[in-house]
């Protein structure tokens, strides 16, 4: 009832909504008339501390001033960008996760900056570059970081419980069982129904191919055999209660990482930042290894996250915007700062061998070869094509897997639900789907 007091009072309080718009052009009176030379750009990102790098750009580029606005996270930014570009309010430059790029392109939210990007292609690995071109001639963003997946484990606790670092998923399941028998309160890891990107990365490792274009038709196979294998594997662990079922990125999960309830985490190369923030007291106790493999002797991984810097289709200063995006992700000082301040694994090849990655993250002082190992793992990332409605697929993942966990842990139906939701949505929008 309190809620009902005013229109505003009611739902106002907490719809975790979205969608906004800031147009640098509208907001900055000095841009237009006496603009000569002075360009104003707006930039949205959720990377921590990135405003410090923006400040350096502003100091060294008096002609192009970038105004930074901190955003909540990747999902929120994506919805805001989609709504803002519908309304014509998108910022000039914004951070875009690779999987959302096709959705942005399909919604006409990003500009093709092939002309402005020039010969930047040579600065990135082919696999990374194809994520921002979708294999065509257009360039929709400048890659910022990538997220090859790897296996983080508590070396000290593995020793304490006599566990071996799993090299295959079979071994992983065995270790989960051994651990849980020794201490029913501990888990090898958790299966998170909240992280669709995490599950997608694991499916990539198994060779999943969810979307593939042929001619003007999309082939959609979210429930393909590879993905079934992955879902079936985790379903077994969940049903036998051998791993934890709580969603990741909650206070409870933070605590579980910090107090050793969870002993390992299949995550991505940006993991040290999360671990250091979650469990500062466990510094020096974690180690990394390649993800467990589906067949002994294989060497494959998937990607979780990773993003690029895009220029909005509505930007009035595309050239300056593209120049900023290029500088942010290829300039040696900027990329060094990205590693240092925002804890990302830079996409530019020169940055990967650059000074910032010469020594391990502080949190991994016990593993001096952290970035050497990470570099080797990064080379084994499997390619993957994202479709134009990943948001729908991911949304279906969260609901279907959460429901499946709540009702026992059989994942087959959940996977089919993802497939049905994805295909239905595409058909409804007029896509040709086979």
């Amino acid at each position: 009832m309190r809620v009902k007091f005013a229109v505003a009072g009611v739902l106002a309080l907490s719809l975790l909504a979205t969608a906004c718009g800031s147009s640098g052009d509208d907001e900055s009176p000095e841009t237009t008339p006496k603009a000569q030379g002075k360009v104003e750009l707006s930039f949205w990102s959720w990377a921590p501390n990135i405003e410090k790098i923006v400040a350096k750009w502003n100091a060294s580029h008096p002609d192009v001033h970038v105004t930074f606005s901190q955003q909540a996270n990747g999902d929120d930014l994506a919805t805001k960008i989609l709504t803002a570009s519908k309304a014509g309010n998108a910022p000039d430059v914004f951070q875009a996760e690779y999987q959302v790029l096709p959705t942005y392109i399909s919604n006409n939210a990003v500009a093709d900056i092939a002309k402005e990007a020039g010969d930047l292609k040579s600065r990135f690995a082919d696999g990374v570059w194809s994520q921002v071109t979708l294999g065509g001639d257009a360039v929709y963003a400048i890659p910022q970081d990538s997220g090859p997946m790897m296996y983080y484990y508590r070396a000290d606790l593995f020793e304490k419980y006599g566990l071996k670092v799993p090299t295959t998923w079979d071994e992983f399941a065995q270790q989960a069982e051994i651990l849980h028998k020794k201490d029913p309160k501990k888990y090898l890891t958790n299966f998170s129904a909240a992280d669709a990107g995490w599950f997608t990365g694991l499916a990539q490792q198994a060779g999943a191919s969810w979307w593939s274009p042929s001619g003007d038709t999309w082939k959609v196979a979210v429930n393909d055999e590879a993905t079934r294998k992955v879902a079936g594997f985790w379903s077994g662990l969940v049903q036998k209660d051998l791993i934890d079922k709580q969603p990741s990125y909650t206070p409870k999960w933070n605590k579980a990482l910090a107090d050793g309830t969870l002993l390992s985490w299949p995550s991505a190369v940006w993991g040290p930042g999360v671990l250091a923030a979650n469990a500062p007291k466990t510094a020096g106790k974690w180690k990394i290894a390649p993800l467990p493999q589906w067949a002994a002797g294989e060497n494959k991984t998937g990607s979780w996250g990773g993003s690029a810097t895009a220029v909005s289709a509505g930007s009035k200063n595309k050239a300056a915007a593209a120049a900023f995006a290029a500088w942010l992700n290829t300039d040696s000082e900027a990329t060094t700062d990205l590693v240092k301040e925002s804890a990302v694994y830079p996409a530019a090849t020169s940055a990967q061998t650059g000074p910032a990655l010469q020594s391990a993250p502080e949190f991994f002082s016990n593993q001096p070869d952290f970035y050497t190992v990470a570099g080797q793992i990064a080379g084994t990332a499997q390619g993957f094509t994202f479709g134009p409605n990943v948001n729908v697929t991911y949304s279906a993942y969260k609901d279907a897997f959460a429901k499946a966990i709540a009702s026992g842990g059989a994942f087959d139906g959940a996977l089919d639900q993802m497939q049905t939701s994805t295909v239905d949505d595409m058909k409804k929008n007029g896509f040709k789907v086979s």
């Binding site: 009611v10 739902l11 989609l82 609901d399």
Partner: protein, 305 residues
């Protein structure tokens, strides 16, 4: 005053209420009617993609007729969410109003030093945004940190069987104070001579409450109940804020959460508009009785000049 002058005066007076109401009407039209109209328009449109949808201009907006409405009506998730929220309302509304009435009667009937402080304390949650309230309760539901979980014997407050009550608790906590204030205000408006006699005759406070006070504030109770029911059916903040913490809260938990998910997570503003129009119509129908009740009775004795 001459006849002509008086007529001129009356002519001017006739325009006065409209002039006074102009700001409200303009704002209402701009920020309520027009947006609703826009929602209705959106609900009749859909996106149409050609080819792979990966080139600018591949996506256009076309007329969809009533297709979005048909889809919404046969969507099992929407029906589930409506049923779920009805069940939730059966817990929240009686609990919230029951507590509010109890507290209001106690405050009105007791003369203790702490009455004032208790009133402020009970009213306080009204001042706390639901986003923040849900964050606070989210922490208090955390096992091993929270004494509440210990008190409940270590129960998992986010399990499928308990999560409904966990959400309801946040709503009851947040809503009781305001309702108490409404009821308390009407209790205070009852002239005391109406029950002082009963008191002198030795009637118990309980008896006075049930025989005299409650019947007199029935209109207030009806109003609070109607508003409470509507806002309960429109619940979205609490489950949305607690959702990341639990596998048992899905993105279509309540009807308005479904609208939000469709609009923002799935990027389908058109379906979201259709669903919200349906919900708005349902709310209007539901409130029709209430409008008659209030509109006819509340202002019946009002004078006019």
């Amino acid at each position: 005053m001459t006849v002509a002058a008086s007529r001129r005066r009356r002519g001017r007076t006739a325009a006065v209420p409209y002039a006074f109401l102009t700001p409200a009407i303009v704002l209402f039209v701009v920020f309520c009617i027009v947006p609703i109209g826009y929602s209705v328009y959106m609900s009749l449109r859909k996106a149409q993609v050609k080819g792979l949808g990966l080139r600018p201009g591949d996506r256009t907006e076309v007329f969809a007729g009533t297709r979005n409405y048909a889809n919404a009506l046969k969507d099992p998730e929407l029906i589930h969410s409506v049923l779920r929220v009805l069940g939730y309302g059966l817990i929240v509304v009686p609990m919230m109003l029951g507590l509010a009435l109890l507290f209001a009667l106690l405050l009105d009937g007791t003369r203790a030093r702490l009455v004032r402080s208790a009133r402020i304390a009970i009213f306080l949650p009204y001042a706390i945004p639901t986003v923040i309230a849900s964050l606070m309760w989210g922490f208090l539901y955390l096992p091993s940190v929270s004494p509440i979980v210990d008190l409940l014997g270590g129960a998992d407050l986010f399990a499928p069987s308990t999560v409904l009550y966990s959400i309801a608790n946040v709503a009851v906590w947040g809503g009781t104070g305001f309702n108490m204030m409404v009821i308390y205000t009407s209790l205070r408006a009852i002239p005391s001579d109406l029950y002082e006699a009963a008191r002198i005759d030795g009637a118990s406070e309980l008896r006075i409450a049930f025989r005299i006070k409650i019947p007199l504030i029935v209109p207030s109770l009806v109003m609070t109940a109607v508003f409470a029911i509507i806002s309960t059916l429109q619940v979205v903040s609490e489950p949305m804020a607690l959702k990341p913490l639990s596998n048992s809260i899905i993105s279509t938990w309540s009807p308005l959460m479904k609208v939000y998910t469709d609009a923002f997570e799935r990027g389908d503003l058109y379906s979201a508009a259709a669903t919200s129009v349906l919900l708005a119509v349902a709310t209007l129908v539901l409130s029709f009785g209430f409008l008659r009740l209030v509109g006819d009775r509340a202002f019946a004795s009002e004078g006019g000049s």
